[in-house]
Amino acid sequence: MKNPFPGLRVAVTGGTSGLGLALVHLLHEDGARVAFAARDRKRVASVARAYAGTHGIAGNVALKDDIYPMALQILGELGGLDVLINNASDLGSTPLALLGDTQCEDLERALATNLLGPFRLTKALLGALAASGREGRGGVVLNVSSDAAINAYPTWGAYSASKAALRHLTLIWDEEMSGQGVRFLSVDPGDMDTPLHALAVPDADVSTLKRPEAAARELLDAIKQTLATKGMAA
């Protein structure tokens, strides 16, 4: 399978740490044109400097008013969009808590970041993604999922419920939009050695955890496979 990434226009949310940073790194290495977004302006600037030619955007996907400014910058800087990776995630309660001990505000924040944010950003970028599909370039949205989207682990309630909803949303997006040339993927990257995992499980044995670069490579392979199946870019 040919490498589809050189020149491909890809946007990644949560691009300054963990899996998102690994995705920016690998996409940059593979020759993609990358825009990434994250909340902390300084970290965004420092990652953009580290990976010359990438476009860093400061914004919070959980905030409705940040979505269109982010979409405008992504589309302006890349001149359109072929692939969107909704990666930014929020754990809900930290430390993790039983649902009975979970603050409503923590559940709201998890839903805002993990469900509403990806929905809003996808909707704002859908015209560009459909154009990419029609032109035979791309048109893929990858939503980062979790095994917690399927399994009921105690104390993971807020995160779990938001990721389960995101997974179902992804399936419905795909049913509705594949006819228009836009495919939606939900991928569980596994348990990784990332800041998010450290917040969730502070005493985890990191030697048993996947490196984010390995998970990022699997995500990019899933995108590559989808592009090839669509008969595009391959």
């Binding site: 953009a48 476009h55 860093g56 955007i57 400061a58 269109y68 400014p69 982010m70 405008l72 910058q73 589309l75 302006g76 800087e77 001149g79 359109g80 969009l81 704002a124 859908l126 015209g127 560009a128 459909a130 154009a131 029609r134 032109e135 035979g136 509705e176 939009m177 006819g179 228009q180």
Partner: protein
């Protein structure tokens, strides 16, 4: 608000009313619908004219170079006040000269040219293109319409199809399309394609300034769209343009030999009664008043008697004007 309506005007004078959501019922298998997928810039930037210290509003109105270089724009300058005031009631902006600096929130711009009118200028923003996009995203607001009650947000002025942000006012005919309708086209075997046309502003509210319009507008025709148009025409299907910008771009692209070419070019000139259309068979557009450039363009599609009869029908049935109103489809008579 009542559901949007669609008046279908056929070139032999027939007039039929439809709910707009039934657009597909007015088309035929084998037709091709072509829309403009440009997203709209938040083109209104408030700030200060540095030399005089006076408040100004700059409205980005067009690209000053053909490459849509993010640093260079054509812009209309307004004095203090905002869209709540009628344009003619607003104080004049301070006198603006070449090399003047404008401080527009996080953005700094320099006037590079005054373009034949005291309020029409070319601007150059300083900074990297990422900094300029970030500044426009943070500080820019959509150009507001005096006829709208509440201020518009960016999500109000992007159509469902909005992609590259290169337009200065919305390709508003595209508000008639949603994903339900685009999916229905597909299931009826009606083609769908897009172009990207960087629509500049079509009116400034000032007759002298409007003499300078429309600006030359860059457009891009994807290869897939050029092929779809060629296939449709070869098999006898009709080309249905969603909005005036699509007509401008396709007719410009086909001006030499009737073939629409893939690639980028600059649309120049106006389309009106004297234009012989070579590609586009029908146009879906908003309801526009006689005398506007949008109305003038309809005269390329139907004769004046037909359009007058349609005007009467639109008025009698209280069709809504403007960007977010009802629609008309001017289409050749069924054979």
């Amino acid at each position: 608000m009542t559901a949007p309506r669609l008046l279908v005007i056929d070139a032999r004078g027939g007039l039929r009313h439809f709910p707009r959501e039934r657009l597909v019922d007015t088309l035929r298998t084998g037709d091709l619908v072509v829309a403009n997928d440009a997203a709209t810039m938040p083109a209104s930037l408030h700030g200060i004219h540095v030399a005089s210290g006076e408040p100004i509003e700059v409205r980005l109105a067009g690209w000053s170079s053909v490459t849509t270089d993010i640093a260079g724009f054509t812009a209309v300058v307004f004095g203090a006040g905002d869209f709540h005031m009628k344009t003619e009631d607003r104080p004049s902006p301070p006198a603006i000269a070449v090399h003047d600096a404008l401080a527009l929130g996080p953005l700094s711009a320099t006037v590079t040219q005054v373009l034949g009118h005291a309020r029409l200028v070319a601007l150059h923003f300083s900074g990297s293109s990422d900094e300029i996009w970030a500044g426009i995203a943070q500080h820019g607001r959509p150009v507001q319409y005096a006829h709208e009650q509440s201020p518009l947000a960016l999500w109000d002025v992007w159509t469902a199809l909005a992609g590259r942000p290169v337009a200065f006012e919305p390709p508003s005919a595209g508000f008639a399309l949603d994903w339900q309708i685009i999916g229905a086209l597909r299931s009826r075997h009606i083609g769908f394609a897009t172009i990207t046309h960087a629509a500049g502003i079509s009116s400034t509210g000032d007759a002298d300034l409007d003499q300078h319009l429309p600006f030359d507008e860059p457009y891009d025709v994807p290869m897939s769209t050029a092929s779809a148009i060629a296939r449709t025409r070869a098999s006898g299907g009709r080309i249905i343009a969603i909005g005036t910008t699509v007509v401008r771009a396709l007719e410009h692209s086909a001006r030499s030999d009737g073939m629409v070419r893939a690639g980028s070019d600059i649309a120049t000139g106006r389309i009106g009664r004297a234009t012989r259309l070579r590609v586009v068979d029908a146009i879906l557009t908003g309801v526009h008043e006689r005398g506007t450039s949008h109305y003038e363009l309809l005269r390329a599609f139907a004769d004046d008697d037909t359009l007058s009869a349609a005007d009467g029908e639109l008025a009698a049935h209280q069709y809504r004007l403007h960007e977010f109103g009802d629609s008309v489809l001017v289409i050749p008579a069924a054979l």
